[in-house]
């Protein structure tokens, strides 16, 4: 895909809104990550143990293995933080978007909002099949196919040769 050409065809307001969306999602990821890093008692354990649905066995197995929980805790804390930084700064953005989608996919699959599933942590809204994780996944997918990192972001410098050529 000639991504620089695609990006170059955006209108000013399109670029602005896409970048704002990217930064907002980045903020969400980064703050979730930083909060976990700053809270030594945070653990994914309860969330994993409370999993429902067809993948519940897998998540609950991880919950019962202290080493797996430690690894998952580490990956969440740093995964969320790095994805957040990547999205906000527009740095290695495509990898960040991909990482974000994978993480959100796990959250969605571990706690699918299906009929009859009740979770220990009540949700702040009402969801059936579609929840905020799923919406955020698709918002990231939109950002993947409408990239802005080479317009506003450090990727502009990383991929400068390619970008400069297109100018």
């Amino acid at each position: 895909m000639q991504q620089s050409n695609v990006s170059y065809s955006y209108s000013g307001s399109q670029v602005t809104l896409l970048v704002v969306l990217r930064i907002l999602i980045g903020w969400h990821f980064l703050y979730e990550g930083v909060t976990k890093l700053l809270n030594p008692s945070w653990s994914s354990l309860g969330y994993l143990a409370d999993s429902k649905g067809i993948f519940a066995d897998m998540f609950q197995n991880w919950a019962s293995n202290p080493n797996a929980v430690r690894t998952i805790d580490f990956m969440n804390e740093w995964g969320l933080t790095l994805v957040g930084l990547g999205l906000i700064m527009g740095c290695l953005t495509r990898i960040s978007i991909f990482g974000g989608i994978v993480m959100l996919g796990f959250y969605y699959l571990s706690h699918p909002p299906m009929v009859g599933y009740k979770y220990a942590l009540p949700s702040e809204g009402s969801y059936l099949w579609v929840n905020k994780n799923l919406i955020e996944i698709f918002a990231l997918a939109v950002l993947y196919v409408f990239p802005t990192h080479q317009i506003v972001g450090i990727d502009r410098l990383i991929f400068s040769k390619k970008y400069n050529k297109s100018i």
């Binding site: 008692s41 945070w42 354990l45 293995n65 700064m89 527009g90 506003v152 990727d155």
Partner: protein
């Protein structure tokens, strides 16, 4: 300025355009953290309590090199559980656990059992009045290596037809008594006289007279006595004691505890074994100490808790656990008076003991009421609640302290918005990484549902194992365990006061000077 310079400056500007966003987030995070820390510091300063997990007392200088030789008296449901907690499971139980673990990797019963500390015990004798259970007891006693039925089929344990013969054996140092309640006192008294250390299940005795006789016998002996209230090993109770001792709740006026069960098994309608008969059960020996002698009854043998001849119903079976927990936390002692009521309202199966039972105890010297409430036909849990002028504490697997809306002590902090009476000022979840004053809603929900407790460290902690370990450690070091005869005396008298009040429909008083339970007469407080 050249065009290329302009382009490169524009490049840099656009590349780092989002830096201010990071600055804003960093500023926000810092402010929030300072705010949380400030609130936490103020609460910690006010409470002056350690947020570290409770330190379970350990017994120093235990030398396990020499085995303690134990006899089991009574291998029913509880006897079997006690044996497992001591490290001896029936080989067939090991088979079942292994099979269950193969089918379901989340079934950790075998793994947990194998990980349980080896206390270096030898079960050399077993006594049960039902042949089938006696045989199973011998097989469990012999399973020192924790093997399944294919690997373990030799018997190293002797069966005794009577407990007297077991107590006379020279290769037994200690006994675990899990016979029905009407046998507890006599067996324990005889064991003390024979110099055998004693672990006896609750309720300690069936009658008030037996409480005095047993206490006397234990005091005169040198044996180590432990009553089976494994709640003594519960971390949250130990932390609760620390909180109450610090006076964080202010003046305490009311304590509510409950039992909630809602199944036939919970209401003592236990299975009757298909092989049970007059030939396989020594019925006469079973009913020897009971006040009324009746013809052979399988129901009475297996479901003895339902009759006054053998037990004291909710009073001895479950009130005792609740009382002992609070006695451990608050050192209540024996109450001034008791009124109890209830009835057989759900299980109209011929039982004598009530299935709904309330007991209200007064402690005028402490200015408080202790209330027990139970039904065997509703699972609604009300927990243990201790209510003070400045705050209240609820105790279950976890422990939660709330400040009272109208508290005098916390008023300045409530007015300043530092303390919110809707949010716990202290929450402790066993096994969580640490205790914190400011707890996230998520942690609270998960902890409240016991998920953290079950899965943390990948294994459950069996308090009964810890209680037996404390007993054997005390035997080896000649020390008093946590639920010794003094605690047992208070537990038993308190529970019997409720039973007497219910059965005789009178208010019952304790005279501490004469050491007597008085019925229907008012005592000056």
């Amino acid at each position: 300025m050249s065009d290329s310079n302009n382009i490169s400056r524009r490049n840099i500007l656009k590349a780092f355009a989002a830096v201010p966003v990071l600055g804003a987030l960093g500023f926000g995070v810092l402010r929030k953290k300072n705010y949380d820390n400030d609130i936490r510091d103020q609460i910690v300063k006010e409470l002056g309590i350690s947020y570290d997990p409770p330190v379970l007392p350990t017994i120093e200088g235990v030398d396990k090199s020499k085995p303690i030789r134990v006899g089991i008296i009574g291998y029913g449901i509880r006897g079997e559980q006690l044996m497992r907690a001591a490290g001896f499971a029936h080989p067939k139980t090991i088979d079942q656990w292994r099979e269950a673990a193969e089918k379901d990797s989340k079934d950790h019963r075998l793994e947990d059992f194998l990980a349980q500390e080896d206390l270096n015990l030898q079960f050399t004798g077993a006594c049960d009045l039902f042949d089938v259970r006696a045989q199973e007891a011998m097989e469990a006693c012999s399973n020192v290596n924790r093997k399944g039925s294919k690997e373990q089929n030799t018997l190293t344990c002797k069966r005794y037809r009577t407990y007297q013969e077991l107590l006379a054996a020279t290769d037994i140092d200690a006994v675990i008594i899990a016979a029905p309640d009407h046998w507890h006192a006599q067996i324990a008294i005889d064991a003390a006289k024979a110099g055998k250390h004693i672990y006896v299940e609750k309720g300690m005795t069936r009658t008030i007279e037996e409480v005095f006789q047993l206490t006397d016998a234990i005091k005169k002996s040198n044996v180590i006595f432990q009553l089976g209230h494994q709640g003594r090993q519960t971390e949250s109770f130990i932390k609760a004691k620390e909180i109450i001792d610090k006076g964080l709740l202010g003046k305490i006026s009311l304590i509510e505890v409950c039992t909630n069960r809602n199944s036939p098994n919970g209401a003592w309608v236990y299975d009757i074994h298909p092989d049970a008969s007059e030939k396989t059960i020594d019925w006469e020996q079973f009913q020897k100490p009971s006040p009324n002698k009746v013809p052979f009854s399988k129901e009475r043998f297996f479901r003895w808790r339902c009759w006054w001849d053998y037990g004291t119903g909710l009073g001895g079976d479950l009130l005792t656990h609740e009382y002992d927990a609070i006695n451990q936390i608050m050192n209540l002692g024996i109450p001034h008076s008791c009124v109890a009521s209830g009835g057989v309202y759900f299980y109209k199966d011929g039982r004598e003991v009530p299935d709904v039972f309330q007991a209200v105890y007064e402690y005028p010297e402490r200015d408080l009421t202790f209330m027990y409430s139970a039904t065997l036909s509703s699972d609604r849990d009300r927990g243990k609640m201790i209510m003070g002028h400045d705050g209240n504490i609820s105790i279950g697997g976890e422990l939660t302290v709330y400040a009272d809306q109208e508290s005098t002590r916390y008023k300045p902090l409530i007015d300043k918005g530092v303390i919110d009476p809707q949010i716990p000022i202290f929450l402790y979840s066993p096994g969580s990484k640490r205790i914190d004053a400011v707890t996230s809603a998520t942690a609270k929900y998960f902890a409240g549902r016991g998920l953290l407790y079950t899965y943390r460290q990948g294994k459950r902690v069996d308090t009964t194992h810890l209680h037996i370990k404390e007993w054997t450690d005390c035997i080896r070091t000649n020390q008093q365990p946590s639920c010794n005869i003094d605690q047992g005396f208070q537990e038993a008298i308190t529970a019997h006061m409720a039973t007497v009040s219910y059965r005789e429909n009178v208010k019952v008083f304790w005279d501490p000077d004469k050491q007597q339970v008085l019925k229907g007469k008012s005592l000056k407080s």
